[in-house]
C-alpha cells in the first residue's frame, strides 16, 4: 500500500471477563481516501474492530489487547479517545444513546466546539450538514422527538461536522428508508472524493457495499478475506456461509449455471440477453394465476380503518385519512419513508394509539371502545427493540407473563409456553436467562411472549433490524410459518428484500396517507411512484422489471425461464 492511513498489526483483543477472543489476529492496511466495508455475521467482531480505530479499545472498553493499531502515524495505545477524535469520527449503531443535546443544531455543534472551532465556522458546518442529511426544518427540535431514521441522520451529521479524516460508521443506516440510505452513502462518498476522507463502514446491506473499494469479511474475530467489492460479492456461497446476504443478481446467475457473474441490474440485463435463456410467458401467467389463488379472500376483514387520523399531543399530524382493510390470513407489509407514519399506523391497530378522528375496527369492534387490554388479546404487537419488554430472569417466565396476567390456569400456561417456544425455535431454552441471549434470540423471546397471548393478528415493528442475514431469514421464515398456521401478519420494515420475499400485500405510506396498496408484485412494478416515497425495490426486482416482468426472488424467476 502506498500511503496507508491505518495499519493494524496482528491485533488480538479479549473483553474483560470473556474467554473467547473478540478479535483474533487482524492484519489490515487501509489507504487514504479508501472506502472499506466490513461485513460478517452478528457477534463476528465488527463493532469491536470499529472501536479500535479511535482508541475506544483499549482506552474506554477494558480487556486484553495484543498487537498495534496505527492511525495517521500514531499508535492508538499512546493517545486518548478525545485526542484521536480530531481525526477519527465514529457513528455508533445505537443512535438513540449518542444524541444528548437539547436541539438539533447544538447536537451538531458539540463536536466542533470541543476542538475550539470558531463560532462562524460552526454555524457554516451546521448549515452544510443539515442540508446534507435533509434535517433543515428540524433544527430547533429536541433530538428525542425525532423519528428513528431522523435520529440516525442527525448522528451522522453531528460526526460529519467534525470533518474527520477517517469516518468510521457502525451500521449507520439500519433505520433509514432505501433512498435516504443511498443519500448517506452518496454524501460520504462525495466527501471522500472531495476531501480525501477515508470511509470505514460496517454494513449488512450488500447493495450498499457495491460501491466500496474493498470489502473485508470477518468471522469469529478473524479476517476471512479482504478484496475488491467485485471479487468478494461474486462469491455467493461464501457470503451465505458467513451470514452475509448475497446480491440477488449474481445468485440468480450462479443458480442457472453461469460462471461469469454480473452484479448490478445493468450488468444483469447484458448477461441475460447474451446467454440462451428467456422468460416463459406461459410459466409467468401460471405464477400469476397461482398468486391470485393464494391471495384471494372472501372473508370479513379483520382490521379496518376508516378515515383514520392521528395527531400527537405536540400537534404533529401523523396520520391523515387512512382507509384500509386487512383480511384474515394475509401477510401485509407497511413501508414508507422515515417519519411517514408507519409505526403510528401499526400502533393504531392494537389500540395503543386511539384515533383522534375516524375509526379503527378489529373484528368489527372499535378500538376506542375496547382499549389496548382487550384488543391486545386479538392483536399482538412486537416492539422493535426486544430490550424494551424483556424483564424476567427466565425465558419461561417472560413468555408466561401475558397468559398469567389474563389469569390462564397454570397447566394451560405450561402448554402455551411450550407451543410459543416451539413456534419461534427456542424449545429447550425455558430455563435460560433471556438477557444472555443474542439480539436475535431476545427478539424471538419477544415474539414468543406475544404469541403466548394467542392473538389472531401479529404486528411486528422492524422485525429484521439489527439482525444479520441468516437471522433475518430465520426470523422471517418463522413469521411465515406462523402465517401458514393461521395468524394474520402485519410488519413494518425498511428492508425491501424482506418485503419482496415474504409479504403478500403492501401498503405504501406517505405523509400519513396511503400512497399505494396492492400485491407485492404490483407495488414493486411501480418503481417511479415508489421513488417518490423514498423507496426502491431490491436490485433483483429492478433487474426483472427491466426485463418486462416482476419477479420477487431469484428462485421465482428460475422457475419461469426456459431455453431459447
Amino acid at each position: 500500500m502506498l500511503d496507508s492511513i491505518v495499519t493494524i498489526k496482528d491485533l488480538k483483543f479479549r473483553y474483560r471477563g470473556e474467554k473467547e477472543l473478540a478479535l483474533d489476529g487482524i492484519v489490515l492496511d487501509i489507504s487514504k481516501g479508501e472506502f472499506l466495508v466490513v461485513m460478517g455475521a452478528s457477534e463476528a467482531g465488527k463493532s469491536t474492530l470499529m472501536a479500535c480505530f479511535n482508541g475506544l479499545i483499549p482506552h474506554y472498553t477494558k480487556g486484553t489487547i495484543k498487537g498495534e493499531v496505527i492511525v495517521l502515524g500514531i499508535n492508538t495505545a499512546n493517545s486518548s479517545v478525545p485526542q484521536l477524535a480530531e481525526n477519527v469520527g465514529i457513528v455508533f449503531q445505537d443512535f438513540e444513546a449518542q444524541l444528548f443535546s437539547t436541539n438539533v443544531e447544538l447536537e451538531i455543534a458539540f463536536g466542533p466546539e470541543n476542538f475550539a472551532v470558531p463560532r462562524e465556522e460552526i454555524r457554516r458546518r451546521i448549515e452544510e450538514n443539515l442540508e446534507y442529511v435533509g434535517l433543515e426544518e428540524f433544527r430547533h427540535r429536541p433530538p428525542f422527538t425525532l423519528s428513528g431514521g431522523q435520529k440516525q441522520k442527525l448522528a451522522i451529521a453531528s460526526v460529519l461536522a467534525m470533518q474527520p479524516t477517517i469516518l468510521v460508521m457502525d451500521e449507520p443506516t439500519t433505520d433509514l428508508d432505501p433512498i435516504s440510505k443511498q443519500g448517506i452513502f452518496d454524501i460520504t462518498n462525495k466527501l471522500r472524493q472531495r476531501d480525501g476522507m477515508t470511509l470505514i463502514v460496517v454494513e449488512h446491506e450488500t447493495e450498499e457495499a457495491l460501491h466500496a473499494d474493498r470489502i473485508a469479511l470477518i468471522k469469529d474475530g478473524k479476517l476471512v478475506q479482504v478484496g475488491s467489492a467485485q471479487e468478494i460479492l461474486k462469491q455467493v456461497d461464501l457470503l451465505e456461509e458467513l451470514g452475509v446476504m448475497p446480491l440477488g443478481i449474481p445468485k440468480f446467475f450462479k443458480n442457472i449455471g453461469e460462471t461469469d457473474l454480473p452484479l448490478t441490474p445493468a450488468e444483469g440485463i447484458q448477461t441475460f440477453s447474451k446467454i440462451g435463456w428467456k422468460i416463459s410467458d406461459d410459466k409467468y401467467s401460471q405464477l400469476l394465476e397461482k398468486e391470485k389463488l393464494t391471495t384471494q379472500h372472501n372473508e370479513q376483514p379483520i382490521i379496518q380503518c376508516r378515515d383514520l387520523e392521528f395527531t400527537y399531543p405536540n400537534g404533529v399530524k401523523a396520520l391523515n385519512g387512512i382507509d384500509l382493510d386487512i383480511y384474515e390470513g394475509e401477510i401485509v407489509a407497511i413501508v414508507g419513508q422515515n417519519g411517514s407514519g408507519k409505526t403510528t399506523l401499526a400502533k393504531s391497530f392494537n389500540g395503543l394509539l386511539i384515533p383522534t378522528n375516524g375509526d379503527v375496527m378489529v373484528n368489527g369492534l372499535h378500538t376506542k371502545e375496547q382499549g389496548v387490554f382487550k384488543i391486545g388479546q386479538k392483536v399482538g404487537y412486537v416492539f422493535q427493540n426486544p430490550d424494551h419488554q424483556i424483564f424476567s430472569e427466565l425465558v419461561y417466565n417472560e413468555i408466561a407473563f401475558g397468559p398469567r396476567l389474563r389469569n390462564v390456569p397454570e397447566e394451560e400456561v405450561d402448554k402455551i409456553v411450550k407451543e410459543a417456544l416451539e413456534a419461534v425455535g427456542l424449545t429447550g431454552f425455558e430455563e435460560e436467562d433471556p438477557f444472555s441471549l443474542t439480539k436475535s434470540g431476545r427478539q424471538r423471546v419477544a415474539v414468543a411472549s406475544v404469541l403466548a397471548v394467542q392473538p389472531d393478528v401479529l404486528i411486528l415493528d422492524e422485525p429484521t433490524t439489527g439482525l444479520d442475514y441468516k437471522e433475518q431469514r430465520s426470523m422471517m421464515d418463522m413469521v411465515r410459518r406462523l402465517n401458514e398456521q393461521g395468524s394474520t401478519i402485519i410488519f413494518v420494515t425498511h428492508h425491501m428484500w424482506v418485503v419482496a420475499e415474504y409479504a403478500q400485500k403492501v401498503f405504501v405510506i406517505k405523509d400519513g396517507r396511503i400512497l399505494l396498496d396492492g400485491t407485492t408484485r404490483e407495488i414493486f412494478a411501480k418503481e417511479e411512484i415508489l421513488k417518490a416515497s423514498y423507496l426502491r425495490p431490491p436490485h433483483f426486482v429492478q433487474f426483472s422489471n427491466q426485463l418486462g416482468k416482476t419477479f420477487l426472488s431469484p428462485k421465482e424467476m428460475i422457475s419461469c425461464i426456459e431455453r431459447k
Partner: protein, 260 residues
C-alpha cells in the same frame, strides 16, 4: 410524549442572558429563606409568579401540580409538628406554628416554581454556558446539565417500555396501591437496563466527539449581557439588599414561635 421542560418561545425572560436567569434563581432562593412570616414572603412570591407568567411557564407548573400538592400537605403537617407557639388553635396546631408552616411551605414551593421558571426558559446548553461564565469549571457545568438531560431520555424510555408492556396486557390503571406498585416491576427492569446500556454508549460518544480534548473550547451559543440584563439584575439586587436590610432590622419574624 414531550417531557422536556424547556418551552420554545421568545419571551422577555427567554431573551435574558443565561447568567441573569441563573442569578435570578439564586437571588430568589436567598430572599425566600430570609423570613418566617408568610406575609413578608407573599410579595416575593407574587414577583416570582409574575416571572412565571412572563415566561409562560404555567404549563410546567401545572404538570407538576400533584407533586406540589403532596409537598404542600406534608410540609404543612410536618412544620406544625416541629414548631409550636403560644396561641393554641386545635390539636397540635398553634397560630404561630401554622403561620410558620405556611411560610416554610411557600419557600419550598416557590423555590420549585423559580426552578421551573429557569428550566422553562433556559436551554440546557445555555445553563452550562451560564454556569461556566459565572466561574464554574466546564466539566462541573456539563455534569449538572447531563443529569438534567437524563430526565427526558429516561422518561421517553419509560413511555416506550410502558407501551410495550401494556400491549402485552399489563394494566397499570387499576388495583390497590400495592398491586399497582407490583405492576411497575416489569417496567423498571427494562428501564434500568436500557439506561445502563445507553449510558455506556453515551460515554463512548462523548469521548469520541472530543469531549475534554483541549483546555479551550468554543461555544456555539452566543451569550452577551445586554441592557435588559443589567436592568433586571440591578432591580433584583436592590430588592435583595432591601430584604436583607429589613431582615437585619428584625422584621418578618414570628413572635412567640418555638422551633425544635
Amino acid at each position: 410524549m414531550n417531557i422536556d421542560f424547556y418551552i420554545e418561545a421568545d419571551t422577555v425572560i427567554h431573551r435574558l442572558d443565561g447568567r441573569t436567569k441563573i442569578l435570578l434563581f439564586l437571588f430568589s432562593f436567598i430572599v425566600l429563606v430570609l423570613f418566617e412570616d408568610p406575609l413578608f414572603i407573599l410579595p416575593l412570591a407574587l414577583l416570582i409568579l409574575l416571572q412565571s407568567s412572563l415566561a409562560r411557564a404555567w404549563v410546567n407548573i401545572w404538570r407538576i401540580r400533584f407533586l406540589l400538592i403532596i409537598l404542600t400537605i406534608s410540609s404543612v403537617i410536618m412544620w406544625n409538628v416541629f414548631a409550636s407557639g403560644e396561641t393554641h388553635l386545635f390539636w397540635f396546631v398553634d397560630l404561630e406554628s401554622l403561620e410558620y408552616s405556611l411560610a416554610r411551605t411557600m419557600v419550598m414551593l416557590w423555590m420549585i416554581i423559580s426552578g421551573m421558571n429557569l428550566l422553562s426558559t433556559t436551554l440546557n446548553e445555555e445553563l452550562v454556558l451560564g454556569m461556566i461564565k459565572l466561574g464554574l469549571p466546564y466539566r462541573v457545568g456539563f455534569a449538572i446539565s447531563t443529569s438534567l438531560r437524563m430526565v427526558p431520555t429516561i422518561s421517553s424510555n419509560i413511555y416506550t417500555i410502558s407501551q410495550a408492556q401494556r400491549s402485552r396486557g399489563l394494566d397499570l390503571e387499576t388495583g390497590s396501591i400495592i398491586e399497582r406498585i407490583k405492576k411497575y416491576i416489569p417496567l423498571l427492569i427494562p428501564v434500568f437496563i436500557s439506561t445502563i446500556r445507553g449510558t455506556n454508549v453515551f460515554g463512548m460518544a462523548l469521548e469520541s466527539k472530543g469531549f475534554g480534548a483541549r483546555d479551550d473550547r468554543t461555544f456555539y451559543l452566543k451569550m452577551e449581557m445586554e441592557k435588559r440584563d443589567f436592568i433586571t439584575l440591578a432591580f433584583s439586587i436592590a430588592l435583595m439588599v432591601f430584604c436583607l436590610y429589613i431582615n437585619f432590622l428584625d422584621f418578618g419574624n414570628i413572635d412567640g414561635l418555638t422551633k425544635f
